[in-house]
């Protein structure tokens, strides 16, 4: 059984948006009880990550770390036409990832207890991001 759908996710600028429940809804709609769920972000300046979902400080610390590691406005960059956060956004996306597969078990994503799925917006301005979800399961 195959199920493919695009999700349109609004971001508020740089930061993480939890999308676990959006994905769970699609898994429920698909009727899959076991199998695999693949997520693909059609953008090169945002990421998909699995992150601790209990303490919001984890995301804040991660943002702090990344902002320091890949500094906005680095004067060495040539790709600067779209703003000082654009090249850093591409780097942050390559350093993390923009696609992932999550197993489905008992009709749900087989995430760990403290694991959430996040879309990490790397641009400072709000964006709309297209996430392609492909669910594949025994028929």
């Amino acid at each position: 059984m195959w199920f493919q759908e695009r999700l349109n996710i609004a971001t508020k600028g740089r930061g993480m948006v939890e999308i676990s429940r959006d994905i769970e809804s699609l898994v429920a709609s698909s009727g899959a009880t076991c199998g695999l769920c693949h997520l693909f972000l059609q953008h090169t300046s945002a990421s998909l990550i699995l992150c601790e979902n209990a303490d919001p400080n984890v995301r804040a610390d991660l943002e702090l770390f990344m902002g320091d590691f890949v500094a906005d406005g680095d004067s060495r960059y040539s790709h600067v036409q779209e703003g000082s956060d654009d090249m850093p956004a591409h780097i942050r996306s390559v350093i993390t990832q923009s696609e992932m597969t999550i197993p489905i078990d008992n009709g749900s994503l087989a995430l760990g207890i403290w694991q959430g799925v996040y879309l990490w917006e790397h641009r400072t301005a709000p964006h709309r991001r297209i996430l392609m979800v492909t669910i594949h399961a025994p028929s």
Copy 2:
């Protein structure tokens, strides 16, 4: 054909545990001759990596690099309740990855000659880690 099983992997604290053979055993049990094998770690403070498997110095140098890059006990972090290695472990996990898919060919993982699959424990204390393995192959 679908096959799904959880592996319980003991770690001795920070460092890499080769799990190529554990995965190969499951591939053999599944009877798959070609197809895909997906690995998913249900944790946010450990990673799955593909790494050179001949010279142990590669893993030692990688640990050295990562320890310097994501320093334990960084005073900027707010998420410190579970120890000075906890937030770094979350960062190390996001910077690498916690899931991957490996092709199956001729009844085995189609790894390169020098490629091994490793679970990278990022916490300093020993842990038990759950790895969900999903094998999918033509029936």
Copy 3:
């Protein structure tokens, strides 16, 4: 429907080679109209990345960033027998990724408008790299 084939890709030394069209050709050969395409690099000193494909400066800036982040010839490394770019190449590969899955829609890779698939060679000398492509689609 399953389709599995190895591509042999020549690199000119450190830098990115766009492989989107090579993958598209295999998708066309497979006859898949929807489904998933998995890419697996059988090497630990090169990566697969999704990157902005319009402005070549993005790849140049990414190379600049990575070269500064993971310096060649770092005197702390023990794994130095194969040259000063070898251990950095392993680190660069672990920090990025060597496998990915891309959805297929309407008989093509469902990439974003500005998204290209690149093989990132991390060694300074030219190499031949084996990429295993597995396409899986409803029959």
